[in-house]
């Protein structure tokens, strides 16, 4: 399996690893049977993602995707973070092997789930899973 240098960099030294005990939103996606579980934690301040962390059970691409996804959404408004696609995660990683693209999809889904968890806690309606095209 050939990974880009960026994937290896984020796999070997992942950013934002760890649990967040006072998270405002948590999203867990994946399935241990498939070998991937991603849990994304968000800290929200004034509709902005002040902090993001992750815990991941999975391969090199899954860990690197989690790391990159959390980097991409930090400092963004919830609306902006919602629009971070799996393609954007994969591109930021300088590409993923086709068979590993599902890892970037998990990262996108994990962010969506965490945002909707926050929205629900705020009494807001969850957003639709598919973002509108910009």
């Amino acid at each position: 399996m050939m990974y880009s240098e960026k994937v290896m960099e984020h796999f070997m030294n992942p950013h934002n690893v760890g649990e967040m005990e006072d998270a405002d939103g948590v999203g867990e996606v994946g399935n241990p049977q498939c070998g991937d579980i991603m849990r994304i934690y968000l800290k929200i301040e004034d509709n902005v993602i002040a902090d993001a962390k992750f815990m991941t059970f999975g391969c090199g691409a899954a860990i690197a995707s989690s790391s990159m996804a959390t980097e991409l959404i930090k400092g963004k408004t919830l609306e902006q973070a919602w629009k971070v696609t799996n393609k954007a995660v994969a591109e930021a990683l300088e590409g993923l092997p086709p068979v590993k693209m599902h890892c970037s999809v998990l990262a996108e889904e994990g962010i969506h789930k965490a945002i909707n968890d926050y929205r629900e806690k705020q009494g807001l309606k969850p957003l639709e899973e598919k973002p509108d095209a910009e």
Binding site: V17, P32, G35, M55, F57, C59, G60, A61, A62
Partner: protein
């Protein structure tokens, strides 16, 4: 503490079940057959006779290694071709007698995919289950046999977990019923004694690059009198059963390698067992770690462990960053996204099977290599578990 082996450089190579380096002595033996002794063995002049004699010698070396006659050795391109030929060849040649084949659920894909292909051609295949150690039960073999069973194919030793199968017993059952019996001995040869008479087999597959010979060459043992279709049609090579100019340098290399492997078998096995015991004892001290395969009836060079809560490819990538080459049965190294069919057949749940690590030792490995791996691996496991949401609290510290 790093390996500085002349064959593997700075890499601590622990993937000998995948392939081995070509032994320098073997390579030396092969070299003249690329250059000055390049004659086509089927040609009538002197330079061709040299190639012909080299083929004869290699055939003798392979026959001697497995207690067969030279007439019973057919050179192929490797284990996959040998498995394909054995199974398809016997299946089609004996179709009038029946169309049922028995194999095990943990065979190499060269056997499983061949059987699956035969199912599409109208054959029926029974895939025998295995116990938790990956062993086929002879009772299951007996139960699976039908009036129309023509072939049983069970591997000598498993490539992932190293479990050695009760081949002599299965062979006895097959012989009593007049059913052809094939064994894939690709992983076994050079590690444990392989004697076609003692094993009661009619067909046996070998691959040269698993015992320090070159890649792209193998052999199929076919017991005299066996009814088997020809592999390919064309020239009269390999007693008219497998057409095509022989890979003379490769075959010479295979002959030299198998002779060396057999002459060093006891010494090699003792060295492997010593290293394996040390490696396994160290690995099993890591909490939530399981041994895969049989604790005793396993290849002397095979270690297969499963670390709960983490995924195998991540372990491999981290080991690679410390110049350690290993293997995993996790789905993430393949396109299938399904973990090893072998580990699943042994009863490991999917989520646990994903955390497998296979370390297969070779003759260049040393105790220093083992100690280096043990020193490196524990922090890797801890680090990966620390970022896994599945890891229980007590293992995260």
């Amino acid at each position: 503490m790093k390996n500085n082996n002349k064959n593997t450089g700075n890499t601590v190579y622990l993937d000998h079940a995948a392939t081995t380096f070509t032994d320098p002595v073997v390579l030396e033996t092969m070299l003249p057959y690329f250059t000055e002794n390049f004659g086509n063995p089927s040609s009538p002049y002197n330079i061709a006779h040299i190639s012909r004699e080299a083929l004869d010698k290699a055939r003798q070396q392979v026959a001697d290694a497995i207690n067969a006659d030279t007439e019973e050795i057919y050179f192929t391109s490797g284990g996959t071709e040998s498995d394909n030929w054995a199974i398809k060849g016997v299946a089609f040649a004996n179709r009038k007698r029946g169309n049922h084949i028995i194999t095990s659920a943990i065979e190499h894909h060269a056997v499983l995919h061949t059987c699956q292909w035969l199912e599409k051609q109208g054959f029926e295949v029974t895939y025998l289950p295995v116990d938790k150690y990956g062993q086929v039960r002879t009772e299951d073999v007996k139960r699976a046999i039908r009036g129309d069973t023509i072939l049983i194919s069970v591997m000598l030793a498993n490539n992932e977990i190293g479990t050695i199968q009760p081949i002599p017993e299965i062979g006895r059952i097959a012989r009593k019923k007049g059913i052809y019996f094939h064994t894939d001995a690709v992983q076994g040869i050079g590690q444990i004694p392989v004697d076609v008479e003692a094993l009661n087999v009619d067909l046996l597959s070998l691959s040269s690059h698993k015992f320090y010979g070159p890649k792209g060459v193998g052999a199929l043992y076919i017991k005299k009198g066996s009814r088997i279709d020809n592999h390919s049609h064309g020239g009269a090579q390999e007693k008219k059963k497998r057409a095509g100019t022989e890979n003379v340098p490769g075959i010479v290399g295979m002959g030299a390698a198998i002779e060396q492997a057999i002459s060093q078998l006891e010494e090699h096995a003792a060295h492997m067992k010593k290293l394996r015991t040390r490696l396994l004892e160290g690995l099993l001290q890591i909490p939530a770690t399981h041994l895969a395969g049989h604790p005793e009836k396993r290849l002397p060079n095979n270690v297969n462990v499963i670390f709960e809560y983490i995924e195998g490819e991540s372990i491999l990538l981290m080991l690679n960053s410390f110049s350690i080459a290993a293997s995993t049965g996790s789905a993430c190294t393949s396109a299938s996204l399904e973990p090893s069919h072998v580990l699943i057949a042994c009863g490991f749940p999917h989520e646990i099977a994903h955390g497998s690590l296979r370390l297969t030792l070779g003759k260049e490995n040393t105790e220093d290599d083992v100690d280096y791996v043990l020193q490196i691996i524990e922090p890797i496991i801890k680090r990966l578990r620390a970022m896994s949401p599945m890891t229980p609290e007590e293992l995260r510290k």
